[in-house]
């Protein structure tokens, strides 16, 4: 007997993915798509050096964003879990972290634009402090602004799982480490980090998949000047090239699954949870 969960997953997850895979082999004209079995879409995808550059860009964004969100997320979680003593304050500060999430993703992103612009607050401040003579162009519509927005948008997805695992670390283990003469750094290196690994891994999966699938942040923050895979799919859809979009989506899905597969090699999440 099929369980309800299996039915739901089949209907809303597996079936659409199969559909996308099928459509990725179809052909398209200006105004219609027709069923076929051809490798045109994939041939074009793998035959264009733009594809490789765009995938490289996607990985670049994911890797840099991951590094920043990990450092910031880990620090915030560490502070919340080990430095804030009372549970009340922990909860209060944790909620504070979620406040930016009360507005939509896009608003949080767009509000960076006037801030970073050529005549924006950041440039005006730097000029008035005498740090720079000319406004910095690379603050906005650049890889810098894209990654800044990513880090801003997705750090919380790192904080939450790391904080969660840290809260479950038995404090006596840390006491034991200190008693045994470990320095703060050694405690962190040999006790806290290994025990936080599942949280880091879950956060990593969140951040990497979100960044790799994102298209709107890249479009707005780069002023449409950079592309990642999501943007490529969005462009195709906008221009009614559904089969080509489907083919790109299939490749992206496969890539993300491989990345997650590799990540799961490092930690057995089931066991750790």
């Amino acid at each position: 007997m099929a369980s309800p969960l299996a039915l739901i997953l089949t209907a809303f997850l597996v079936a659409p993915i199969i559909m996308i895979v099928i459509v990725s082999f179809w052909g398209a004209t200006e105004f219609s798509i027709y069923p076929a079995f051809q490798f045109d879409n994939y041939a074009f995808l793998f035959g264009s050096d733009v594809t490789y550059r765009v995938f490289f860009n996607t990985f670049k964004y994911a890797a840099i964003t991951w590094a920043f969100t990990l450092v910031i997320g880990f620090t915030v979680a560490y502070f919340l879990a080990f430095h804030v003593r009372s549970l009340k304050w922990q909860i209060a500060l944790f909620l504070l972290c979620t406040i930016p999430f009360w507005t939509s993703n896009i608003i949080r992103m767009i509000s960076w634009i006037p801030f970073l612009g050529r005549n924006g607050l950041a440039n005006a401040t730097l000029v008035s402090w005498g740090v720079i003579d000319e406004p910095l162009d690379w603050l906005l519509f650049s890889d810098f602004s894209v990654i800044l927005a990513f880090v801003h948008l997705y750090t919380l997805f790192m904080v939450v799982p790391i904080f969660n695992t840290m809260m479950r670390i038995d404090k006596s283990l840390i006491e034991a480490a200190v008693d045994a003469g470990a320095t703060g750094w050694q405690t962190l290196r040999y006790v806290v980090i290994p025990l936080t690994k599942p949280g880091i891994m879950i956060g990593t999966i969140f951040v990497v998949t979100l960044v790799m699938g994102d298209f709107i942040t890249v479009r707005f923050m780069s002023g449409s000047q950079s592309a990642n895979v999501g943007r490529m799919i969005q462009n195709d859809i906008g221009l009614l090239q559904y089969p080509s979009a489907a083919a790109t989506a299939v490749i992206l899905l496969a890539t993300v699954l491989i990345v997650i597969g590799i990540l799961l090699r490092f930690v057995d999440i089931r066991k750790e949870l």
């Binding site: 074009f44 612009g117 924006g120 000047q225 950079s226 221009l239």
Partner: protein
């Protein structure tokens, strides 16, 4: 359907009504039921305004639901969701993609009261009898079909229209005169290294490629036999020049929506870019100088029109014709012209504009008093003259129309590569 009982007396009355209806097309027979009719219209933000819907309710009695989308979404919806709309307010170049899907139905021009007054560019392609037809997808070339069920476009006035022209304009580059500080008179200035990192172009391939072609010709790099229908080599050449400029940092950003173009210009991120006339107005209304700069090589033009969903029939279809006749009867035309666009039937719009407004917007005369837009904001002070002059000066200097090429699919792929480059 309305129940009409025929008696000798009612036939006489109906005969009288028919005469009246022919003289003055207005809802007569089905006055009661029309109130329940709701027509769903979608299109781009330029002409899908709530004010129009409100006025329709007032004048015609039925409901019009407006949905404003961006150009790509408009194409998608018209092509893939035929049952989601009754009236499609689309651009002529989109028509070339949408018409073959069979989602729209041809319109009988004998039911269009002001058909004879529609300007020449939408009928035989000529603004005046002497004018030459510009390159690209000229509206008249996709404006007619063979018959009620026609699937092909025909060049002559066949009596069956694909779209009823509603709105059009001649586009050019927008500039910030205060930040540029010298006259700009050629399209090639868009790629002038002087504006490195301060230029922008729109990221809508069918329109953007035409702007690019204007620039390439202006630079003297190449002269296209037809900008609106490039070969693969020509597409490679055009996008090659722009990709090189992009890599050299010529562009600050690309824009896709109206508001993005306004933001870029108003914030000073960009000083020269492809732009639409109401976006210029929006920048100016913030007190920032911005000019819709007429250029030596002429304008890149576009036109929009109303198409009827293929599934429209019965009383809804009657209401739709009613709406079209109302659309061309002047009020909307005046409304659009006071924003800087042109109406398909200028002479009816004239009755809904003051003499000063008409002089300023249509005839290119200096304004005698302040010129306000339909929302009441002052757009121009007394003495101002419209950029580019009169209707005939502007529309007479159109170099090409927005187009869909035979090699469109190739162009789209190359465009994607340009954006990703």
């Amino acid at each position: 359907m309305p129940k009409i009982r025929y008696s000798r007396r009612s036939m006489l009355k109906a005969g009288g009504a028919a005469v009246a209806a022919a003289a003055l097309p207005a809802p007569m027979v089905w006055g009661q039921e029309i109130k329940d009719v709701t027509l769903r219209q979608f299109g781009t933000g330029v002409s899908n305004l709530n004010e129009v819907a409100t006025k329709v309710k007032e004048d015609l009695g039925f409901n019009l639901e407006m949905t404003a989308l961006d150009s790509d979404s408009v194409t998608q919806r018209a092509a893939t969701q035929p049952d989601s709309f009754d009236i499609a307010d689309i651009e002529y170049w989109i028509c070339k993609k949408v018409w073959p899907t069979g989602n729209l139905q041809a319109m009988d021009t004998t039911k269009i009261a002001n058909y004879d007054k529609i300007v020449g560019i939408f009928r035989d392609g000529k603004l005046t009898p002497e004018s030459t037809i510009a390159q690209g997808t000229a509206p008249h070339s996709v404006g007619f079909t063979t018959g009620a069920d026609g699937t092909e476009f025909v060049d002559e006035e066949s009596g069956w229209m694909t779209l009823i022209p509603t709105i059009y304009n001649a586009d050019t580059l927008g500039i910030r005169p205060d930040l540029i500080g010298r006259p700009i008179s050629n399209w090639s200035e868009l790629l002038n290294p002087e504006f490195a990192g301060k230029a922008s172009i729109l990221d809508i391939s069918s329109i953007g490629i035409m702007d690019m072609a204007m620039v390439v010709e202006s630079m003297g790099e190449y002269t296209y036999p037809d900008k609106g229908n490039m070969t693969r080599e020509e597409i490679d050449l055009t996008l090659g020049i722009f990709t090189e400029a992009k890599k050299a940092g010529q562009f600050r950003a690309f824009w896709k929506s109206f508001s993005e173009s306004v933001e870029l210009m108003a914030s000073g991120e960009v000083v020269i870019q492809s732009m639409w006339s109401p976006a210029i107005t929006a920048v100016r209304s913030q007190g920032i100088p911005c000019v819709y700069q007429p250029l030596e090589e002429g304008y890149r033009s576009w036109g929009g029109g109303i198409g009827l969903s293929a599934s429209l029939s019965g009383i809804e279809l009657d209401a739709a014709y009613e709406y079209i006749n109302w659309y061309l009867s002047g009020w909307v035309g005046g409304f659009l012209m006071r924003q800087g666009y042109y109406s398909a039937v200028p002479e009816t719009s004239k009755e809904f504009m003051s003499a000063d407004e008409w002089g300023f917007w249509f005839e290119g005369k200096a304004a005698e008093g302040d010129i306000t837009n339909p929302f009441g904001d002052v757009m121009e002070k007394a003495g101002a003259v419209r950029d580019g002059g009169s209707f005939y000066d502007r529309m007479g200097a159109v170099a090409c129309w927005n187009a869909v090429m035979d090699e469109n699919q190739y162009m789209v792929r190359k465009w994607n590569e340009f954006i990703a480059a």
